[in-house]
Point group: C2
Chain length 308, copies 2
């Protein structure tokens, strides 16, 4: 099924306790599209870059069947750039540099050929930009997933609340869920967020896994404990891409299938963190992905029919 | 099967963001014995208290069939006392006061009637005291579980390493696993700790669940996301008590059964944190425990037979 992905396509410079990179390709939409492409075949991207971007990367995305008709390339301008440094525990990071560049004036345009998309993934961006995309779609997609972050809660909460009313699923991390709801308990936080628009809340806890809530159900998936974690950048976006890619492919938006999609997203994210940037998820083999999913099945499998 | 539990029986004064207590009964062995008593029927305790202790609590423990023959009561002396304050996230705490009192000179004596115990749970204590208990047992128990903490790694690492050589299972938290192994990855940390004596490593991650490792397998159990968390004190000990209590009751030390024991331990710990101190686990109904276990089953249940 056709999936429309909106988000940044950017440069990152990353430092972790295990190494550092110069400017490498990144951006939420890049990770989402790459991850989704392993499951869903019709993926269409909306973003903006400068003509300084790595054109080889665009060819790679195209090679994976990702439609770039909606990718604006601004002549003489520079792509969005983020530099950050992760602390020892990899759960917190400092932003060293943010250069909005083309993103400062980004006005997303939905091409005619995108307008019949059935699934919409709104990657982390200014909620006003996310709303602009929703407004241009003549028919409401079957499922709209919104990713956001504390930055927008701090400076654009009203816009965020408006766009939240238009979506089915919101994905945020645990601290953001607490900030957005004012509740410490994630169970209470999710319940409150479910009154703000979304029918499903996904709370991402990084290396501690992810929770999925609807009004009646709760599901937890761990992150796969790994021997080597190099760089968490893009893990949340990879997770979101695997999640929506699997749902778009299966066309099944039941809670049961969303649980599977969470496992798929977690599996793909577990690859992303093993190397810097997009390197590890550029060319995954189907057998690798299957083995990773099998590891998840085994990790949490237990049989407790009897107790007394 | 008979289970011997060694650990503190103490007073705590606890402050969390959600309330505070005066001096209340606590101590690792108290939580372990209470938790174990819901599954195993022959539980024998070794500890030391002053005659200032709450004798009602001792009657309650006896009422649950916990044998207190090995509990030394020192006349004119005071019980071990700990006061602590938890931070907002409940994952970290400051110790406000520690009064060793009777614990400073504790020399554990294993009564004759305890010497045939088949399971041994060494709660968090000076590793030398833990070793003294092992040395007094004429026959090696079927399974020995050791709980410890960073404090002993800091001041008594050599003694800790000695006692680790004598045990089957070690339970520690994630930071302690990293400290003990010098490895950041919990997978690598567990593998290293498995070379130090124990055949099984349980890494407790508090609200983020627990991992069980042997040389070939890895299992993860989440903590149950709760609406109300009042006080994490004793959660780790309750977990250990449920774990060993279930194993002692089932007499099955296979990895498969240890996975079940982890779920049982997590279920019981999820009660402990709902109220201050031991209050919530003093009188659990079987139906409450069963319902909690069922919540665990549902929380992580998914079916991913197909992918493509």
């Amino acid at each position: 099924m056709s999936l429309l992905i909106v988000g940044t396509v950017a440069f990152d410079a990353i430092e972790t306790p295990f190494g550092k990179t110069d400017k490498i390709v990144g951006g939420a939409a890049t990770y989402i599209a790459l991850a989704a492409s392993y499951f869903n075949k019709k993926n269409k991207l909306i973003s903006v870059i400068g003509d300084d971007y790595d054109m080889d990367m665009l060819e790679k995305l195209k090679g994976k069947g990702i439609d770039l008709t909606g990718l604006q390339i601004k002549k003489g301008e520079k792509s969005f750039f983020w530099a950050g440094k992760y602390h020892y525990d990899l759960n917190s990071r400092d932003t060293l540099d943010t250069q909005l560049n083309v993103l400062a004036t980004f006005d997303p345009q939905v091409p005619e050929s995108y307008k019949d998309c059935e699934f919409l993934m709104l990657g982390n961006l200014d909620p006003k930009v996310q709303m602009r995309v929703i407004e241009q779609l003549p028919n409401r997609p079957k499922l709209v997933v919104l990713d956001t972050m504390n930055f927008w809660m701090d400076i654009a909460l009203d816009s965020l609340k408006e766009v939240m009313k238009k979506v089915d699923v919101i994905t945020i991390n645990d601290e953001e869920a607490r900030q957005l709801s004012g509740e410490y308990s994630l169970v209470k936080a999710a319940r409150k967020i479910l009154t703000m628009g979304p029918k499903y809340v996904v709370i991402k806890k990084g290396e501690h896994g992810a929770l999925l809530f609807d009004k009646e159900h709760m599901f937890f998936a761990p992150a796969l404990p790994l021997e080597e974690v190099m760089d968490p950048t893009g893990a949340g976006d990879t997770f979101a891409g695997g999640f929506i890619g699997f749902i778009a492919h299966t066309k099944d938006i039941s809670f049961e299938n969303m649980k599977r999609a969470i496992i798929i997203g977690s599996s793909l994210a577990s690859f992303t963190v093993e190397k810097f940037g997009t390197e590890r998820i550029l060319d995954l083999k189907e057998s690798e992905i299957d083995a990773r999913i099998q590891s998840f099945v085994e990790l949490v499998d237990f049989n407790i029919e009897f107790v007394e």
